[in-house]
């Protein structure tokens, strides 16, 4: 009774124009979107455009630049350091991604078994991904020390496999493989936990049906696990590729591009030229030259997402 009378009584209550304004949908939409769109337009979209523009100028720190067209890009194409950085960025991304996914998938498959303390194991495995990259990179720097490396100590003094300590970061290829190893180490947990989530959605009845039909373990993996995991694998792969390709922290912390600029990724080279070197225009051009690859990876990601919806019986939208 009381509620009915209240409801009847409500409409006549004169709402102030302010209250009505706040209940007017278009106004509310604009109000809600404003902080998010404002932040992103000012600090993301505008800098993106500004970066592309800077790439066509000869801006230095403390001096506004002038339009010089493609000059930065032309000089970069004749710059051996830049070309080496491009090659090394692709190589780093390719090898590290293969390593991360092979080991991450293996770890996810291991964790998908019935294990004691499963949630505890899952929790500690994520630690390398949670801890600030630079800080774990410093630990790797110490592990890769030429004189006191614990890896060299184990190989030489404990196992006697080598007769001299490895110069991890002083030699070009040693430094490159050391960086790739550190990157794989950091990437495994992310890949493993995401793929584990995907594995857990696969119905066990599929495996049972395959077992009855006499499928071997490898056939079950190849014909059931992998296809069912494909959609989530594609998304995780795209994320991982984009963030490995634009990696900065690991290389900056462990080698700073050395020895002799041989481990500069495009991101660290852009930083080196732009901030300590002062050549903002040239640095921006290096950073911008990463964009085509990122667009390609993103388009790939979009189609992977769309395919996923279609596979689940949803609409493509």
């Amino acid at each position: 009774m009381a509620t009915t009378s209240q409801r009847v009584a409500l409409p006549p209550v004169e709402q102030s124009w302010l209250a009505r304004l706040f209940d007017w949908k278009p106004f509310l939409v604009v109000l809600c979107m404003l902080p998010c769109v404002g932040l992103l337009v000012v600090f993301l979209t505008y800098p993106l455009g500004l970066g592309i523009w800077l790439g066509f100028t000869d801006t230095r720190i403390g001096r506004a630049g002038e339009w010089i067209g493609l000059e930065n890009y032309v000089s970069l194409l004749q710059d051996d350091t830049y070309l080496m950085a491009v090659w090394w960025t692709f190589f780093y991304t390719l090898v590290a991604t293969i390593g991360k996914f092979a080991l991450g998938l293996w770890l996810a498959l291991l964790l998908n078994h019935h294990l004691p303390f499963k949630s505890f194991v899952r929790a500690i495995i994520l630690i390398p991904w949670i801890v600030p990259t630079v800080l774990s990179a410093i630990a790797f720097w110490w592990i890769y020390d030429p004189q006191f490396s614990i890896i060299s100590y184990i190989l030489v003094d404990r196992l006697g496999l080598l007769d001299h300590y490895i110069d991890f970061l002083g030699d070009t290829w040693n430094a490159r493989w050391s960086l790739i190893a550190a990157n794989i180490w950091r990437g495994i947990p992310f890949v493993a936990i995401c793929l584990l989530a995907g594995l857990q959605t696969i119905s066990p009845s599929l495996y049972e049906a395959a077992m009855i039909d006499g499928a071997t373990a490898w056939q079950r993996f190849w014909h059931i696990t992998l296809p069912m995991l494909m959609p989530i694998l594609a998304v995780v792969l795209t994320f991982s590729v984009i963030f490995t390709f634009t990696d900065f922290q690991l290389v900056y912390a462990i080698t700073r591009g050395g020895p002799a600029n041989s481990t500069h990724l495009m991101a660290t080279l852009a930083f080196q030229r732009a901030i300590p070197g002062g050549q903002l225009g040239e640095g921006a051009a290096i950073a911008v030259s990463m964009i085509p690859f990122l667009v390609f990876a993103t388009v790939f990601s979009y189609f992977a997402l769309a395919r996923r919806k279609w596979q689940q019986g949803g609409k493509d939208d």
């Binding site: 949908k25 992103l40 994520l126 630990a139 180490w185 936990i193 950073a287 990463m290 990122l294 990601s301």
Partner: protein, 300 residues
């Protein structure tokens, strides 16, 4: 009835029969599962063990593998931590990092909650395109933004100020949080809001009184994730902050604790350890939220 019975029976048959993979005998299981898993755990955790053990070693022990076992500390010392806390700006780096992370997280959460609510619940024309644009914004890495942002920061007079970090961190926090919260709001039944609407609540009242309290787990996920991401951020903090006492922990450990060519590994490792502990503690409280937001964000 039969349906209910099979539904109730299903979990037990699942446990019994999750078997195909478990048919293997125990020794075989040890070799194929436990041994590789143990190797993974050891390799993934070793750098942290090494970081911790180095922190507590004295200098003579640190550089002498002949007389001391390098895998253990024979006489633990707090000298490295002591040096870090009282002879460097470490406490002020911690405070700066904490302030920046907390404020940037709060700002991003505020912006993302409103945006996610508008996109998912107010459903204006083109809202799905805005959602897609925000997803794409997450894919723009800081490595290509820091140079133009550095010029902007300089022109706005924010160079060398924590405010520069507070304003730029949302560029990667807001897309992530919004995306996560859109997924979370989707899981809250719309009927609850319709009831409130019929009872005469305004839209903002609905958001504040009904949707937000129900979305608390999602907010926690987004919040802890944003906090961790801002604590870990490196490239902006490296490019925008110059004076030693205003740096954030990751940048300061790398740039301030390395003096010339002599690396003081003891205090470097102590700095890395102390910088990792706040996120590690944070993480240990909210493991499940981390896992759910990590996997949720990928699945969405």
């Amino acid at each position: 009835m039969t349906e209910a019975a099979t539904a109730a029976a299903a979990p037990t048959t699942f446990v019994e029969r999750s078997g195909p993979l478990e048919w293997a005998s125990l020794p075989r299981r040890v070799v194929t599962v436990y041994l590789p898993l143990a190797c993974f755990v050891v390799v993934l955790l070793f750098p942290f063990y090494w970081m911790a053990i180095t922190t507590f070693k004295s200098n003579e022990e640190l550089y002498d593998y002949k007389n001391f076992n390098p895998f253990w500390v024979s006489s633990p010392t707090l000298a490295n931590i002591n040096k870090l806390l009282f002879q460097t700006d470490y406490p002020s780096w911690l405070v700066t990092t904490m302030t920046v992370a907390v404020v940037a997280t709060a700002l991003s959460l505020f912006a993302s909650v409103l945006a996610a609510y508008a996109i998912q619940r107010l459903r204006f024309k083109g809202s799905q395109w805005v959602g897609l644009a925000i997803y794409l914004a997450y894919l723009v890495p800081p490595s290509i933004l820091f140079i133009p942002l550095a010029t902007m920061v300089f022109q706005l007079g924010l160079f060398d100020s924590p405010l520069a970090l507070i304003l730029t961190y949302p560029t990667f926090l807001v897309p992530f949080c919004t995306w996560l919260l859109i997924g979370y709001f989707k899981s809250i039944p719309y009927e609850l809001e319709e009831c409130a609407l019929i009872d005469g609540a305004t839209r903002l009242q609905i958001l504040w009184r009904i949707t937000l309290p129900l979305a608390v787990p999602g907010l926690i996920s987004a919040g802890i994730f944003a906090f961790t991401l801002s604590w870990n951020e490196f490239i902006y903090a490296l490019a925008f902050i110059q004076s030693a006492e205003k740096k954030t922990v990751p940048v300061a450990v790398l740039t301030q604790l390395v003096e010339g060519d002599v690396y003081h590994w003891g205090s470097l490792m102590a700095g890395a350890l102390l910088g990792s502990i706040p996120v590690a503690i944070f993480y240990s409280f909210f493991v499940e939220y981390y896992v759910s937001s990590l996997t949720g964000a990928v699945k969405e």
